[in-house]
Amino acid sequence: MPRSWILVPVSKPEQIEQASRSGADAIVLDLVELIAENDKRAGRANVQAAIRTAKAGAAQVFVQIDPQSLDADLNACVWPEPDGIVMSRVESPEQIAHADAALSRLEHERGVAPGTLKIVAAVETARGNHAAYDIARASPRVRALTLGRADLVMDLRAEPSHEIHLMPYLMQRLIIIARAAGVAPIGAWWRAPDRGLLATPENTYEAAQRGRAIGFKGAMCLRANQVEPLNRAFARDASPRLNG
């Protein structure tokens, strides 16, 4: 499972190139969060070129899509094939089932081996979190769960303790559900002043270490300089050992 996932707008070739040189284990080409509503149509037309650019490096490539425009987004991204999709704002197992069926059809039409494309489910709303266990089990394609930008989507702000309101609960809940369903929990334990996957490299490292300590396997970020701290914190041999 990738240690570092960097989210880049599908419409920004220079950022995609930078991401492919960043050392990220996975690049997520975004059609949802980082692209203005008016640019989405043009963004979909860019996906194939963006996948090629991103695949130039060794990273896995995912496309973040919107369940609200599922078919258009999926049509844009099944060939040349990414490693999978990140479904933003998933709220129900039915949405996953719908995506699963659409992916199977597109795999068949475009000569991609059946079941190749993975799904990372981003539960970013209350409904999505409430239904997370059913979402995680809705298709064998689902390999990971993440809270994505839940702090922003649910408008969760900093408490006086610097914890982001409700996030300690949501993180632990997500991790337990992911483990129970046999998928990977993706995330880091961000604290104020960090918000929405943005932080200094130092804070990113600390957030990733805390995240790793409570069970996350790899985290998402938005900036190239956050990749190295994520790789370091989530490295297989980086777990702190107790000294006898």
């Binding site: 692209i35 989507v153 408008d155 309101h165 609960y169």
Partner: protein
């Protein structure tokens, strides 16, 4: 406040509260319960004279007798303590529905606030919160005495001991689309319920987390702190205008976010800023309503008995 203590009820309208809870439960001794019930009908208009909404907290085990005594015009909400099952809420709903009809109260207007104070209630929280359309606000409490006792959790510690219970309550409220009460953690290591300074910190933390609803207090000394802490400050309002100005600039560039003076500006920050401005306007409107109600009450009292008005 205990309905059996006349001086509390008589002066309640002067306190500046947004809502007042007339209590039949823990603050009323067992031998006075019947007497207490007989007082609620008159207490409702009394506590409302300053513009506050009137709530009544009933007893867990005498629902029918309590509701018969309290469901009168002017009552806004029934607080039901120690809710453990959705059926309890449905029972309340059916009795209130009948009493609304019998007593000429517009149907469906009286709300139910099911309090969660036990482990069993927490385990059934989602069904409880969704059990009636009369439940319009729901969410976390800071953990009262009963909740702490039932869960075996200490009340006055310097870390957030209710992460799970509060999270369950809030996730249910948000999932069901109810008004959300949040309880950001603010340490209370002294055990005081009348400490205005601490109440202010709690209310400010709630406001800074984006909440508009307070959980209420047990002492008049905390009312002003709650009102003040939950109302956006002038700085908040100024900052919100600044964020929206930056956001308008961002929109014209076609980008989805920029960093200005070390802060991220994007649609989420813009939404928070708009929320702050709307909330500030609602607070001002509520303060105006309360001031009008108080002025009206004072004028009436002066007419009836000039000496009574201090």
């Amino acid at each position: 406040m205990p309905v059996v203590t006349p001086r509390f009820i008589d002066h309640a309208w002067r306190r500046g509260c947004d809502f007042i809870v007339i209590d039949l439960e823990d603050s009323v001794p067992q031998h006075l319960k019947a007497h207490a019930r007989s007082l609620v009908k008159d207490a409702i208009p009394k506590v409302s004279k300053g513009g506050a909404e009137a709530f009544t907290r009933i007893n867990h085990d005498s629902v029918l007798a309590d509701l018969e005594a309290i469901v009168w015009p002017g009552l806004k909400r029934v607080k039901y303590p120690k809710t453990e099952h959705a059926e309890e809420v449905r029972l309340l709903d059916s009795i209130i529905t009948r009493l609304e009809r019998e007593r000429g109260i517009p149907p469906g207007t009286i709300e139910i606030d099911p309090g969660i104070e036990t482990a069993l209630g927490t385990a059934n929280i989602f069904e409880i919160a969704g059990a009636s359309p009369r439940v319009r606000e729901f969410g976390a409490s800071t953990g009262g005495y009963d909740y702490s006792r039932d869960l075996g959790v200490e009340m006055f510690v310097d870390f957030d001991q209710f992460v799970y219970a509060k999270g369950e309550a809030e996730l249910a409220a948000r999932t069901l689309g109810l008004g959300v009460r949040g309880a950001p953690f603010v340490a209370n290591t002294t055990g005081s319920v009348s400490d205005g300074g601490r109440a202010l910190l709690q209310a400010e933390a709630a406001r800074q987390c984006g909440f508009h609803l307070g959980g209420g207090g047990l002492n008049p000394a905390v009312v002003e702190s709650h009102n003040q802490g939950l109302t956006p400050t002038e700085d908040d309002v100024r900052d919100a205008h600044w964020v929206l100005e930056q956001y308008r600039r961002l929109i014209s560039t076609g980008e989805t976010w920029i960093e200005v003076e070390g802060r991220v500006i994007d649609r989420y920050e813009a939404a928070r800023a708009r929320d702050t401005l709307e909330w500030a306007a609602l607070c001002a409107e509520r303060d105006r309503q309360k001031a009008e109600a108080v002025a009206r009450t004072r004028a009436e009292m002066a007419k009836q008995d000039p000496a009574a008005l201090k």
